[in-house]
Amino acid sequence: MATNQQQVLISPAELAYLHASLSLSPEPIRPDGRSSTQFRPLVAETDILPGTNGSARICFADGSEAIVGVKVEVEKTKPKAGAMINPEEGKEEKGDTGVEGGGGFDDDKKNYSNDWVELAVDIPGHRDDDPGTAFLGNMILEALLEDGELVKRLRINSRFHWKMYLDVLLISQPLSYPLPLLSLTTHLALLSTRLPCLISEGDEDPMFDDDWAASTNLYPPRGEKSKLSTSRPPITLLVMSVGHSILFDPTYEELAVADAVLAVSVSEEPTKPVPQDTIATPKQAKDRALRLLSIRSIDPPSRITPPGVPNGLNPATNGEVAGLQPKHAEARTAEVPATEGVWKAPRGGVSRSVLSAMVFKALEKGGVADEVLDGLQGVEMASEILE
């Protein structure tokens, strides 16, 4: 995890308090007074950089800020392995037969490849080859590719495709785990992405309309005629569990006492392509079907928090405070038993039922994923009105 390489700077007493207040049932008490499923308020804007095909910026209330820029280039599609290779093309394409057969899950005829999308994450203070950064990038990319819709939209014809570069920049220092921020910003940037209008036909070399006003959205807005399905890019939510509580969008302090942290990527179930003559009606939250794309567990920083020392074992209090008898003198070196109100880093994993509960809560109808998608749709619509 990108942020937990550094030490957690919270004292054992604070950790014990946080743990106790967050594991209260039925409703945990969070340090910022949010409910367990509430997101922090955020400011979002799209289409901020005219030099990119699509861009977005999101600021969380805690001051963390991210910018995502999307650039596309035309690239020649490599022939799929095992496909017939033209004799004249065979020379230059030699050695390409090992290309990953990615994206093969859908339509084998159409030669999609996961190599069409490239994503780079930049976190200040971390090298770009840092394992935590690589993990973050792979997590966002995994959801985009598993969705399968993005790659399909990048196809131009059987010989050419768009190569998409996503540059994800975290501008502020990583305060909490930046995954939700980066994922939401990527979602908005993809929604604002426009591609030049294709005016050539069939498999000939692609020609584009040079009028930017004629460009088309990669994800056409709702209510517009389109031959593509009305899917939206996926989003990744961060879910953590403490005791029996399940919390969404955890802050740095909350993560420091987490039992388990999961990143859950979801997207909307795409509807069938709408025939050209009918207009797709905007979807209501009620009939939105969600799709589970990927889940990853994230190493909670709680495992490397400093443990508290119970009074019974503390040499400073001589083990005799508040009528507590010094139990075992030798116990200092042996295992410290779990004591109420004394912080101890969690050990082991979490049970299957807790993990399932976390996933189900994210996918719930009218739950957090729905709410976030609605919020993002609001941003999308606001930017349309401005246009």
Binding site: E100, E146, S351
Partner: protein, 300 residues
């Protein structure tokens, strides 16, 4: 980053020759699943193979067909716990570092000597799986390095039409890494809360797209045309807990049963691997000094 320290081979790949009488398409796919869906492939596990390391283990999973060599071969060494450098700040815990590296020849596409992003990704997964298992507060101010080398990466040698995406072989590799690292940690004598083992399960579309998709334990990438979803867990059997969960696939959010079943199957696979792990370690204890082969078939 370009690797300037070593003499690198030519970029790109060299594929083994494909002969003309190979008819493209279905006929090429000669590996058909021979074992039942709910069994694992054969696992070979041996500890203590690198004398210079604190602990080490070697794991092999057979390929789908007896003559095809495309299985999984992993080597793991554990160094430590040892004291950290003086300049590092105080930690009350063992600092765990994990490295997963593919050998250049482990996959179809040649790998470079420097770790690429997918290898680092696997390293982070492995760290997540192991950090919960090791009782880290018993060694303050110390570090443990876990290095896994993937000698063979469970990829079919030939690419044919319906090869599923590379996700599932990465999951198989991760699951192997978890099991082999667990054995090596035990060999090094590092205290753990339980023996962790990895398990993979997948939801596979049935042949010719007829009938219901089915669940397969320990799926071999070359045996299946289309993998709908995959799941890899690191599971602690005696505590009934999961330290690492990695799920990938396209399943409907309303159909949560599918997810639950898939995790259940992955846990089942992990239990199987755990049996091999425990037997190997027991053997290592009883026949101390004399290392015997701990190969056995697991059927469930």
């Amino acid at each position: 980053m370009a690797d300037r320290r070593r003499i690198n081979g030519p970029v790109g790949v060299t594929s083994p020759p494909v002969y003309a009488n190979h008819t493209p398409g279905k006929a090429q796919k000669d590996t058909v699943q021979q074992r039942p869906d709910n069994t694992l492939r054969q696992i070979f596990l041996k500890t203590g193979i690198t004398p210079s390391a604190s602990g080490s283990a070697y794991l092999e999973v057979t390929g789908p067909s007896t003559n095809g060599p495309s299985g999984l071969k992993l080597n793991c060494t554990v160094h430590g716990p040892r004291s950290l450098a003086k300049s590092t700040p105080f930690t009350p815990y063992t600092t765990l570092t994990t490295h997963v590296k593919y050998a250049p020849f482990a996959t179809r596409q040649r790998r470079g000597y420097l770790r690429d992003s997918s290898e680092k990704d696997l390293g982070v997964h492995l760290e997540t799986a192991l950090r919960g298992v090791i009782i880290a507060d018993r060694w303050p101010k110390s570090g443990v390095d876990i290095i896994v080398t993937v000698l063979e990466g469970d990829q079919p040698r030939e690419v044919f039409k319906g090869t599923p995406d590379e996700g599932i072989d990465a999951m198989n590799v991760l699951s192997g890494c978890i099991t082999v690292a667990s054995a090596a940690i035990a060999d090094a004598g590092i205290d753990c809360v339980d023996m962790v083992a990895g398990g993979v399960a997948a939801l596979v579309a049935s042949e010719e797209d007829k009938g219901e998709p089915r669940f397969v334990l320990d799926p071999a990438p070359s045996e299946h045309d289309k993998i709908l979803a995959g799941c890899c867990v690191a599971y602690l059997p005696s505590r009934d807990e999961i330290t690492n969960l990695w799920y990938k696939g396209q399943t409907s959010g309303n159909d949560t049963l599918l997810y639950t079943q898939l995790v259940e199957k992955a846990v089942q696979a992990s239990r199987g691997a755990n049996k091999v792990l425990v037997d190997t370690l027991k053997e290592g204890v009883t026949e101390a000094g004399k290392q015997s082969k701990g190969s056995m078939e697991v059927d469930r």
